[in-house]
């Protein structure tokens, strides 16, 4: 066996963007290939679960796992990879915080299945067939993985050593994180790799145009305003989550004319990203009159859960929509 670092890559509930993030390393991939041996990567290499099962425990040096945990299959696979790996890295927002798939926690499992397979306008399903976990076909029993009740972040299922943030992590961040991991000088467990420990505003070019004190009378959504790309978006009345979001991405969205939506997640020691973001918005709204404040919030803040928990609902204190303790659908 070679002395290369043995690496596994796996995806759970993800869009494929995180796989793309590896390919985006471009020519650095060739350099990486000299140091690394990929032992498992379902998206690119034809290998089966049994190939991993046959490996000795802790024989993989690093497993990069992306995607949220949505199915029983994901749980099974990440537990297997945990056993076979020395280090596990949660790669990208979904594995880190639950990610966009985590917003599904605002609905019950039944609501989601019904919408996706029956009600969605693009679906033709006159018999209203909804996938079942066990189906009999020609006397044979076929099994599908179970849909879990709630989407989870990776560290809500297995022990995670490091996190690489971002939706998807930009190439620079991936490269920095890989350099850290391959250097052998490992940071303390639980560290977020490749990113900054300061907020996004700290590295934003528009920060110098940010007024000393921001007070907003009304909020505008991006489609309602033509943004001046040389001026802090907050000062233009567009909610940018830069102040409460971990930096390190190089302000890619802001350079592209979009405010920060928070994919790098919270700064160190913040327990609930969304609550912090909400609190920050409350502090810059310029209303002292109760009736007015309530009206403006009602009017402009259309979807607080979607704004503040876009990438982190499963890792929030509440984790999703509470659906009572009675009458809950099984599984």
């Amino acid at each position: 066996m070679s002395d290369k670092v043995r690496v596994a890559l796996y995806w759970c509930a993800s869009c494929g963007g995180c796989e793309e993030a590896f390919v985006d390393l471009a020519e650095d991939l060739i350099k990486l290939a000299e140091k690394v041996e990929i032992v498992f990567w379902p998206v690119a290499i034809d290998m089966k679960k049994s190939d991993i099962e046959h490996l000795p425990d802790e024989s993989i040096d690093v497993s990069f796992i992306n995607g949220g945990i949505r199915l029983s299959e994901h749980e099974e696979m990440v537990k297997l990879l945990r056993r076979k790996s020395k280090v596990v890295v949660a790669f990208g927002s979904c594995a880190h915080l639950g990610g966009v798939p985590g917003l599904a926690n605002l609905y019950s499992k039944d609501e989601i299945l019904r919408y996706v397979y029956v009600e969605a306008p693009t679906v033709v399903n006159p018999e209203g067939t909804i996938p079942k976990e066990v189906v009999k076909v020609d006397g044979q029993e076929l099994e599908l993985p179970k849909v879990l009740r709630l989407v989870k972040a990776l560290d809500q299922v297995i022990d995670v050593d490091y996190y690489i943030p971002g939706c998807a992590p930009p190439p620079d961040v991936v490269k920095k994180a890989l350099d850290t991991l391959l250097s052998g000088k490992l940071p303390p467990k639980g560290s977020v790799l490749g990113a900054s420990s300061r907020s996004l505003c700290d590295e934003c070019d528009l920060n110098k145009t940010k007024p000393e004190k921001i007070l907003l009378k009304d909020l505008k959504r991006v489609h309602q305003v033509k943004l001046d790309l040389s001026k802090c978006y907050l000062a233009q009345g567009v909610l940018c989550l830069g102040p409460v979001t971990r930096g390190g991405c190089g302000t890619l969205c802001i350079k592209g004319g979009m405010p920060c939506t928070g994919c790098f997640g919270p700064l160190d020691n913040v327990k609930d990203y969304g609550a912090r973001a909400l609190s920050y918005l409350a502090s810059i709204l310029d209303y002292d009159d109760e009736a007015q404040a309530e009206k403006v919030i009602e009017e402009y803040v259309a979807d607080p859960a979607g704004w503040f928990y876009r990438y982190s609902l499963p890792k929030s204190l509440v984790r999703g929509r509470y659906q009572g303790s009675g009458g809950e659908a099984h599984g």
Partner: protein, 142 residues
Amino acid sequence: MGEGRFEPRVVVFACNWCSYAGIDLAGTSRIKYPHNVRIVKVMCSGRVSPEMVLKALADGADGVLITGCHPGDCHYISGNYKNMRRYFLLKKLLKQLGLEGRVRLEWISASEGERWARVATDFVEHIRRLGPLRLKEVMSSE
């Protein structure tokens, strides 16, 4: 749980300068208020972050009552306004999270012992009608 009746656990955040003094006044005036409240003194209602409220609910409270000085009376000038805006945002978020009605904001001055007793009784009864909140149990079960 006398007579098998549901006894809500209500966490109250009370500011040092107005609301806590108002609650104290209710005590020294021997005005009755429900025993269901667990009062946490903070220096200002502006100190009550949404994390604190959500954590209380996640850790077993059935309801959270935030109290502060009336508008215009904040010891730190603007803390209660900050809290008020936060509350309206939080209220909207809580609706999406299926926790509507579990959190309430009330202004209690240092002279309003009677009002405190009324507000506390009303909120405890309201939570009693909503029933127990078993957030941690439900949200961490499979």
